[in-house]
């Protein structure tokens, strides 16, 4: 897909530079990159994610000009930003809500990849780099949430870092090195600040690799059929620059709704109480984007078992290219897979909902029963989550599914879309029998 460069330097300066450091050529090639012309709006989330990363880095660097990463000063410095720094409330509101927006976009982006088969050959490394970006995002977000040093910040840090202590032999010394003391305290906060500043640049580097890995085979597309000729594609600029810009603008409407009208809606009230090592808040909950994992963890009665289930869930993401082996890339043409996928998405939503509940909370209010607690939906849908990766995709679907015929090419007329043709009917006239 990444063919020869078509850039022609026009002026003498351009030619001079092109011989020494072909950066204009690099940019021009990115702009001209032949992109499938049939990409739908699910494909705009890559651009949205890049926008989110830049937003977080810019607002973060500015916040770091005012933030005090010491145990004594952190909470007050955040209030100083909110109250005294010019537009501090705005920059902090963008940064805090921006993290949530970042995760909304990344989950949609990942689900798109799963549905349309973007993780399959030859894009496995692209998918793996993406999974690494996701993990780094989670680490960054976790450490970022500790920085305001509220009750949730402190207690979340305390409990999570205590987990490391459970690792046999190396656990306790590892935890102590992480803490920089005998418990979570000012040294921990200070080093989390340093790492929180560092990791986004690691993410940026991974994003560069991610785009490079994408540009080798080129973008996939909703049909899952490879690009066959130039007429299947359009240059990235202006076609997808304008489409991505439009998508980002609409995304910003949602972002702005949070920042300006409900800036604390996605947070937790307990984080407005300064960290107190003696008083544990009654309900400790992670940020919403970690809730599905939290639910899966609590679904297993055994502590170590819960951690292993969590690990398996993360591993599943990395293993996806080798678990979904269907020759048909896109689930648009896999009606059975679509159903399983829909239930998979439902599972994530139910798990997220369950993660916010107390373990004893009844599902159906008023019904007295041992099964009427949120731990049961967590178990059922958590089991489905794992089964989707390890049983349904690699075993069940290959045995039971008959995919629909896939269009000959991207440019083949609309007949190829299964909504227009009943399953098994002849597709485009050019299709061989």
């Amino acid at each position: 897909m990444s063919g020869p460069s078509t850039y022609e330097p026009k002026t003498a300066i351009e030619r001079w530079l092109d011989v020494r450091l072909p950066i204009v050529r690099f940019g021009a090639d990115l702009m001209d990159f032949p992109t499938p012309k049939n990409l739908n709006y699910w494909w705009t989330f890559g651009g949205i994610l890049a926008f989110c990363l830049v937003t977080q880095i810019v607002t973060g660097i500015v916040l770091a000009m005012h933030f005090d990463p010491s145990g004594a000063g952190a909470f007050l410095s955040v209030q100083h930003i909110q109250r005294d720094v010019n537009y501090g409330w705005l920059i902090q509101g963008i940064h805090a809500n921006g993290a949530s927006m970042f995760f909304v976009a990344v989950y949609i982006h990942m689900l798109r990849g799963m549905y349309y088969g973007s993780a399959k050959a030859p894009r496995e490394v692209l998918w793996l780099i993406g999974a690494l970006i996701y993990l780094t995002m989670m680490a960054t977000a976790f450490m970022g949430y500790v920085l305001p040093w509220g009750q949730m910040s402190f207690w979340g840090a305390k409990v999570i870092t205590n987990i490391f202590g459970a690792i046999p032999v190396i656990g306790p010394p590892l935890t102590q090195i992480l803490w920089g003391g005998f418990t979570v305290d000012s040294p921990t906060l200070n080093r989390f600040f340093s790492l929180h500043y560092l990791l986004p640049f690691v993410i940026a580097a991974l994003v560069a690799l991610h785009i490079w890995a994408l540009h080798v085979p080129g973008n996939s597309n909703p049909t899952g059929v490879n690009v066959k000729s130039k007429s299947d594609t359009v240059p990235f600029h202006p076609y997808y620059t304008v489409k991505d810009s439009f998508a980002i603008s609409v995304f910003l409407i949602m972002f702005a709704a949070f920042v300006f009208f409900m800036p604390e809606a996605l947070g937790h009230v307990d984080n407005y109480t300064p960290a107190n090592p003696i008083v544990t808040p009654p309900h400790i909950v992670p940020e919403w984007y970690f809730l599905p994992y939290y639910a899966m963890l609590r679904a297993v009665p055994d502590k170590l078992g819960g951690v292993l289930v969590m690990g398996l869930a993360i591993l599943s993401i990395f293993a996806l290219p080798w678990l979904d082996r269907s020759k048909t890339r896109s689930m648009r043409y896999r009606p059975q897979a679509k159903i399983y996928f829909a239930i998979f998405v439902l599972s994530i939503l139910v798990l997220g909902f369950a993660g916010a509940k107390e373990v004893d909370d009844p599902v159906i209010p008023g019904l007295v029963s041992g099964f009427n607690t949120w731990v049961w939906p967590s178990r059922i849908f958590g089991a489905y989550f794992l089964a989707y990766f390890w049983i349904i995709l690699p075993w069940i679907l290959p045995m039971t599914e008959t995919p629909l015929p896939v269009p000959e090419s991207i440019s083949t007329p609309v007949l190829a879309h299964p909504a227009a043709a009943p399953a098994g009917a002849a597709a485009a006239p050019e299709k061989k029998g």
Partner: protein, 186 residues
């Protein structure tokens, strides 16, 4: 059915180049530029002094606390502020120097421009040497004004630079007399 060949790619024979700057594209770019500018301003303005710093940007003082011939150093915007209660002799020395042909003024300025009318006994100046920022000492130097120990700048009883490397007179801040004895600086 849609024609798959014609229109599948930007056909330069039949339709104009899609990146031609049509009005709608120009409008989009203009709005984007406006948005970028609107976003850039808070990112820059946040580096300006914050509200708590500005709250400390002005101070008030009761000058009647300063005995005649002496000086009080206040902290104003985290810098020294000299409040000097000048004797008539000191005022006289400052004014008559302006008529002395042998007096050299690197930064000429009449004494009356450096005090408030009717309040010439009060000299209120920023105690930061205009050379490289040291705090000049009260009363030093041949004019009885100030002497900066760092590089030898000499100021007179009006705080004007008379010799040494400093280029400008000691700065007079914005101040007003709220009452006969109560000043507000900044």
């Amino acid at each position: 059915m849609a024609e798959s060949v014609a229109g599948a790619s930007p056909d330069t024979h039949e339709a104009p180049d899609p990146s031609r700057r049509d009005f709608i594209n120009i409008a989009a770019i203009a709005l984007a530029a406006g948005g970028v500018a609107a976003v850039a301003w808070p990112l820059v303005d946040q580096m300006n002094p914050s509200a708590d710093t500005l709250a400390l940007s002005s101070i008030e003082y009761d000058v009647s606390k300063v005995p005649l011939g002496q000086e009080v150093t206040l902290l104003w915007r985290k810098q020294p502020l000299f409040v000097r209660h000048r004797t008539p002799a000191e005022i006289q020395a400052a004014v008559s120097a302006e008529h002395d042909p042998s007096a050299v003024f690197k930064d000429p300025q009449p004494d009356e421009a450096r005090v408030k009318p009717g309040k010439a006994e009060w000299l209120i100046i920023v105690g930061v040497c205009t050379h490289l920022g040291c705090t000049p000492a009260f009363g030093g130097g041949p004019f009885g004004g100030y002497l900066c120990h760092c590089h030898g700048s000499v100021y007179d009883t009006s705080g004007r630079i008379r010799s040494g490397p400093a280029p400008k007179n000691l700065a007079v801040p914005d101040y007003t007399f709220l009452t006969d004895t109560h000043i507000k600086v900044g």
